[in-house]
C-alpha cells in the first residue's frame, strides 16, 4: 500500500481538478466581447511580444543553488546515520561543509551574492 498510494494520490488530485473544471465549464456562463480575451495590462493594449528574452538578475544564484541543492542530497543520508557513526561522520561532514562554506565565502567576497 506504499507506492501504489503515490499513484492513487496523483490520480485523486488530477481527477478532482478535472471534474471541478468540467463542472465549472458546464455551469459557468459564457459571453463574448472582442477585448475580453486580451491579456490584462491596466486597460491598455499590450505593446510588443510578452515572451521576450527576459533578463533575470539571479543567474549566479541559480548556479550556487545547484551546488547547494546537491549538497543537501548528500547531507540527508549522512544525517540519518550520524547518530550511529559518531565522531567519524562528524569530522567528515565538517570537512565537507568547510569546503562548501569556503565556496560560499568566495562567492560572497566576489560580490556574487549581490543582486544586480
Amino acid at each position: 500500500m506504499d507506492n501504489q498510494a503515490l499513484v492513487l494520490l496523483f490520480l485523486t488530485g488530477a481527477i478532482f481538478v478535472g471534474l471541478v473544471l468540467v463542472f465549472s465549464g458546464i455551469v459557468a456562463p459564457r459571453s463574448f466581447a472582442p477585448q475580453k480575451f486580451d491579456p490584462y495590462e491596466c486597460g491598455i493594449p499590450t505593446k510588443g511580444t510578452t515572451w521576450l528574452q527576459f533578463n533575470v538578475g539571479y543567474y549566479l544564484f541559480a548556479i550556487l543553488f545547484l551546488v547547494f541543492d546537491v549538497e543537501i542530497v548528500f547531507l540527508f543520508p549522512w544525517a540519518t546515520v550520524m547518530k550511529e557513526m559518531g565522531m567519524v561522520a562528524f569530522i567528515e561532514i565538517v570537512v565537507f561543509i568547510l569546503i562548501l562554506g569556503l565556496g560560499l565565502a568566495y562567492a560572497w567576497k566576489k560580490h556574487a551574492l549581490t543582486w544586480e
Binding site: 494520490l9 491579456p39 495590462e41 538578475g57 543553488f65 540527508f76
Partner: protein, 362 residues
C-alpha cells in the same frame, strides 16, 4: 473489535481485514484506495475552506475589523459562498496564451499538495503513505507546486504574470535550500527520515525542546523559508499585488483561480504540518518524563486534536507574519537567503551534529 480515537492503526487494520474477508485481495486494495482517496479529498476540502475563513478572521481581528460576518453564524459559510460563486464564474481563455500549459498549471499545484498531504501523519496509524524517506519526499513534493506557479506565469501571455513567474523562479533557487537544511538539522537529531519514527522519537520531549538552541534556530529558519515556499506573507513577490496587480494568476478566472488560492492554503497547511511533525512532536501529546499523572491527562486528549492544534498554531504564526510585514524586494529576498539564512543554517547544522555527538541533546 475495538478501536479508539487514540490509535488509528487498529481502525485501519480492522477495515483492511473486514474488506479482505468479504472480497478478493485485489478488490480489497482497490476499495481501500478509493476510500483513502475520498477521505483525503474530504479532508482537503474542509481544511481548505476552514483556512480561508480562519485567515480572513485572523487578519480582520488584527486590523480592527470584524471580517466575514454575514453568511451563516459569524460568517462561517462565507468561503463556501465564495466557492460557489467562483464555480459559476466564466473561465476566460486568454488570447495567445500557451493553452496547454495554462490549463496544466492548476493541475500541478493541486496534485503537488495532494501528494504531500498523503505523507503527513495526522495521528497514530492515520497516514496514507509512511515512506522511510518521508522528510525527503515532502521536500521533493513541496517544491513541485512552485513549478505550477512558474508555468502559470509563463503561459499567461501577460507581462505582469511573466515577471511574477521570474520572481517565483528566484524564490525557488533560494528557499528550497533553507527548508532542506533546516530539516536536515532535525534529521540529525532524529536519526531517521521516516515521519512515524520521528514522532515516536519525541515521546519524552518534542524536538524543539530536545534540540535546545539549534532546534529553535532551525524552526525560525524553517518558518521563514516555509512562508517563502508557499508564496505568502512578506514573500509574496510572485503575486505582489501593488506591483504586478496579481502576478502569476492575473489571467486566471473563476475556478482556475480558486485552485491557486486553495493550493496556497493547502501548502500552508503542509508546511505547518511538517513543522509540527518535526519540531512539535506531531500528534504526540505533551509529556514530561516522570510525571505520570500529568502525562495521563495529556494522553486523554486525542492525538488528532493535538496534531491539529499544533498545526493551526504554526499556521497562525504564518498568518501573523503575513499581516504584519511589508513585502520584500527581490534583491532583499536573495540577500536574506544567501547571506543570512544559508550561513546560519550550515553553522546550525554543525552545532546540532556536535550536540548529538556529545549527547547534550538530553
Amino acid at each position: 473489535m475495538k478501536f479508539s480515537l487514540y490509535d488509528f492503526s487498529s481502525f485501519t487494520a480492522w477495515i483492511d481485514s473486514s474488506l479482505r474477508a468479504s472480497m478478493s485481495p485485489g478488490w480489497a486494495v482497490a476499495v481501500e484506495m478509493i476510500l483513502i482517496g475520498i477521505a483525503i479529498l474530504i479532508f482537503y476540502a474542509i481544511v481548505g475552506l476552514f483556512l480561508v475563513y480562519a485567515e480572513r478572521k485572523v487578519c480582520a481581528l488584527m486590523q480592527n475589523r470584524l471580517g466575514p460576518n454575514r453568511v451563516g453564524p459569524g460568517g462561517v459559510f462565507q468561503t463556501i459562498a465564495d466557492l460557489v460563486k467562483l464555480l459559476f464564474v466564466e473561465l476566460v481563455p486568454i488570447k495567445n496564451a500557451d493553452r496547454a500549459l495554462f490549463n496544466l498549471a492548476p493541475f500541478i499545484v493541486i496534485i503537488a499538495s495532494f501528494m504531500a498531504i498523503g505523507a503527513i501523519p495526522f495521528a497514530k496509524g492515520l497516514q496514507a503513505i509512511d515512506l522511510n524517506i518521508g522528510v525527503f519526499y515532502l521536500i521533493a513534493i513541496s517544491s513541485m507546486g512552485v513549478i505550477g506557479v512558474l508555468l502559470a506565469g509563463w503561459a499567461s501571455n501577460n507581462k505582469y504574470s511573466l515577471i511574477g513567474a521570474m520572481r517565483s523562479g528566484a524564490q525557488i533557487v533560494s528557499y528550497e535550500l533553507s527548508v532542506g537544511l533546516a530539516l536536515v538539522t532535525m534529521v540529525v537529531l532524529a536519526g531517521t527520515m521516516q515521519l512515524s519514527e520521528i514522532i515516536e522519537g519525541q515521546r519524552w520531549g518534542w524536538f524543539i525542546f530536545k534540540g535546545h538552541i539549534p532546534a529553535v534556530i532551525a524552526f525560525v529558519i524553517y518558518i521563514i523559508a516555509g512562508t517563502a515556499e508557499t508564496n505568502r506573507g512578506p514573500f509574496d513577490l510572485a503575486e505582489a499585488e501593488s506591483e504586478l496587480t496579481a502576478g502569476y494568476h492575473t489571467e486566471y478566472s473563476g475556478i482556475k483561480f480558486a485552485f491557486f488560492f486553495l493550493a496556497e492554503y493547502m501548502n500552508m497547511f503542509i508546511v505547518a504540518a511538517i513543522a509540527t511533525t518535526v519540531f512539535f512532536g506531531g500528534w504526540m501529546p505533551f509529556h514530561v518524563y516522570g510525571w505520570d499523572g500529568f502525562n495521563a491527562v495529556m494522553d486523554f486528549v486525542p492525538p488528532l486534536i493535538w496534531f491539529l492544534v499544533k498545526t493551526f498554531f504554526v499556521i497562525f504564526l504564518m498568518m501573523w507574519l503575513k499581516w504584519t510585514f511589508p513585502r520584500l524586494r527581490i534583491d532583499q529576498l536573495l540577500t536574506l537567503e544567501w547571506k543570512y539564512l544559508l550561513p546560519i543554517n550550515i553553522f546550525n547544522l554543525l552545532l546540532m551534529a556536535f550536540l548529538v555527538l556529545t549527547g547534550l541533546h538530553w
